[in-house]
Amino acid sequence: MSQVLTTPPAVGAPRPWKFPEAVTTRTSVGAPVHVFDRPGQYVATVRVTIAMPLIAEPRELEGVATIMSRTLDEGTELHSANEFAAALERHGAAYGVDVSSDALHVEISVPVSHLAPAVELLAEAITRPAFNQADVGRHVTIRLGEINQERANAGYRAREAFAAHLFDASTRRSRPTAGRPDTIRPLTNVEVADFYRNNIGPERAEILFAGDATGVDVAGIIDAAFSNWTSSAGTALETPEPIYLPGNRVVLVDRPGSVQSQLLIGCAGPDRRDPAWGAAAVANHVVGGTITSRVDTVLREEKGYTYGTRTSFAAPRKGGTFSLGGAVRTEVTGAAIGDALRILREARDGLTEQEVQEAKDSLIRTAPLRYEQADSVAQQVGSNIANGVPVDFADTYLTKIAATTAAEATDAYRRYVDTDGLLVVVVGEAKDVRPQLESLDLGDLIELS
């Protein structure tokens, strides 16, 4: 018979864990192929990551990379858009593309039993797109509709305003990845095909497989599918360093009818080249990375201002950001920002040994969960490639975290947060929020509609 235990039972030491290892080969056209054999993962992800820095887009046609990416599968030299989708989905596959500031990812997830025919279709989309004007025009229209949806979304509006006011206008990331109406409208299949020709090719690509490879010649299947890929696009341009705008400032985006204020508060942050990248992650975990962090302990659990906020250090290939994001009740917007800024600033005075140890334990011990599914391995490796770090970067990162002291975590945080000022973005009912912001006296207030 069991008894009531009044104190928590001890936690046994975790089994040692390393990021899954890849077998790396090359296709006959030169693209590296990384195969992550994950026994028991019956749905595989095949991901093609292609270096595609957005600075390659002409300024007046921003979004062309996105429209190009979205129309790869909308008709190929061999299949119409409807035929292609039917063929792929008949194999149980799902297809997707993702455009970031540095790379294009094109991928399928598919039961391993249907791998070969699905990879052939993936290769067909990447290497033989048709770019018919009817399909490109349709995607331009869809993108314009999507912009309307984005404008109605408080979270999106906050991210857009944050980028526009954190980065100098000469930095591509100050503007939306997928373009704006005036840069999208002029696009036809001519610009899209040009962009494809100049920017997509095997010299810029790496191909990943993650899944149960038992008895399957994965590298052979991938090589066969991509063997005819030729392109005059050489290697990609290097992404330039971003230029940040310093100083304290407040941007209020009026969103009439809002019942909450969407907040995004932040500044410049490190990227993965910075030796303090791991220490910064530890500091973030303490300050605002979880529900038990300093920020939510006050904003959610003590005050009930919010369903939840989170902070993060995030970075693409070059130049990172620190930010605190979340939604708070309109009436307490000023109070919530005041509390948040106080907590962010007080963290500069030092994170405790206990806080840092708990953050390190959490970050290190959750790693096997994060990469349990084949698809999450492919996602991580694809972003490693896009970010210019080794495919097994997770191991380096975790080693750095394990070695981080409380002083180092505090230092990493102090180097960025509130050093050159903080940008405060608020998306909400301006007439109710403005007086609350003015009384906080946070610097110049810019109001947008």
Partner: protein, 427 residues
């Protein structure tokens, strides 16, 4: 062919059903509890209570301080959360296997002794947090109240599925600490739950640990069953037309569907998939690709256990296109499917998609544990996770057409439309 995930099951003396699926290939373990209480159990005046507990369950219990549930598990490397649905509530964590005892102890302490820690202060605080959740997830986003409007039309007043899990803020405001305590005492006990353990632990050790931490908890009086929601297909059309400041005009139709666990529900779900799933679905081909009257279409079935399920179809009109055109096209496709049926190729495609979805769901210990709890609690048969794909594959084109003819019809639906207000003003 069935899948081969191992399933072992025992029931403790206090009625707790424990299911174990050992998997030594990974260094982690998933713990998953389904309580047989969801929004369908909530009587009038107490809506939102099952979900409120999803919050209170993290505020401490007899031997656990407020916030400690999260901090102890996070430090042990856990990913954890909870969810509330029409049919049940679910509490879960995955973590390195050395933390199994900790996870079970925490779950047992709040199953047995939560009320020691539920007081006016944390009730008030979590009520505020729930209100912010509702503002964030429903009120502050375009179309955020569409499901609330649809279930109100699709089911009669007082029907177990006629209100959403978030509930009414007026009900929550009116709740006293004693109301909250009474709700807990009624539904939260070992004999009204399933505990599933999946991952890096032997079957015997898992059962021993379950007994060690849960064995002493007393059973509760058998909770009252949820009201019977059995109801047939819709027999008319009900509309809710909203004019507001939305970015694009949108229509969502809702249909009642057969109860979960039946071939008829699988067939109806596949019919909706043939219409709305993926890029090759009929609606995407016609409305988005060919006629370009819609920016996007979506839809599918939501399986439910209480006598009836429901399914939806949604279309967002292209800019400058009258939403009526989208509605007309949706209805035409619905009637065409009912009249002419589906091809074997179309059915094979959505079955292949369902197979991938299912394999992905089972690809993590957490996902497997969740489905085991699901089938053990609602169907008394955890092994259904291994035969689920076969059940879906067994559905025939005749069954799809028959289910669609009965349940998915133009003349048996409810719908909500959102149109941009002419003036551009807010509601």
């Amino acid at each position: 062919m069935p899948l081969t995930y191992p399933i072992a099951e025992q029931t403790l003396d206090n009625g707790l059903r424990v299911v174990v699926s050992s998997d030594r290939a990974v260094p982690i373990v998933a713990v998953n509890l389904w309580y047989d209480v969801g929004s369908r159990h909530e009587p009038p005046g107490l809506t939102g209570f099952a979900h409120l507990f999803e919050h209170l369950m993290f505020q401490g219990s007899r031997n656990v301080a407020s916030g400690q549930h999260f901090s102890l598990l996070e430090t042990a490397g856990a990913s954890l959360n909870a969810s509330t649905f029409f049919d049940r509530t679910n509490y879960f964590e995955s973590l390195p296997s050395g933390g199994l005892d900790l996870a079970l102890w925490l779950e047992a302490d709040r199953m047995g002794y939560l009320l020691d820690a539920v007081n006016q202060e944390n009730l008030d605080n979590q009520r505020d947090v729930v209100k912010e959740e509702k503002r964030q997830s429903y009120d502050n986003r375009p179309y955020g109240d569409s499901y609330e409007r649809l279930v109100r039309l699709a089911f009669p007043e007082g029907h177990p599925y006629a209100h959403m899990t978030i509930g009414s803020m007026a009900d929550l405001d009116a709740a006293s600490v004693e109301d909250v305590h009474a709700f807990f005492r009624k539904y939260y006990g070992p004999n009204n739950a399933v505990l599933t353990i999946v991952g890096d632990v032997s079957t015997d050790d898992a059962f021993d640990a379950a007994k060690r931490y849960f064995g002493h908890l007393p059973a509760i009086p058998t909770p009252p069953p949820a009201p019977d929601g059995t109801i047939g297909p819709m027999t008319g059309v009900e509309r809710d037309d909203v004019e507001s400041d939305v970015p694009s005009d949108l229509i969502t139709m809702m249909f009642r569907l057969p109860v979960d666990g039946t071939p008829e529900l699988d067939a109806a779900g596949l019919a909706l998939d043939i219409l709305a799933a993926g890029q090759s679905g009929r609606l995407n081909r016609r409305l988005v690709r060919d006629e370009q009257i819609a920016q996007s279409v979506s839809g599918g079935a939501l399986p439910l256990i209480g006598g009836v399920s429901f399914g939806t179809l949604t279309g967002i009109a292209s800019d400058g296109i009258d939403l009526q055109k989208v509605e007309d096209a949706l209805l035409e496709e619905i009637e065409k499917l009912a009249a002419d049926g589906v091809t074997s190729e179309e059915l094979a495609t959505v079955q292949a998609q369902a197979e991938r979805d299912w394999l992905e769901q089972l690809a993590t210990c957490a996902g497997r544990a969740d489905e085991i709890s699901h089938y053990a609690l609602l169907f008394g048969d955890a092994n259904r996770i291994n035969t689920r794909i076969d059940q879906v594959q067994a559905v025939t084109v005749e069954q799809v057409q028959a289910a669609a003819q009965k349940w998915i019809r133009a003349e048996g639906r409810v719908q909500v439309t959102y149109r941009r207000s002419e003036s551009g003003d807010q509601e």
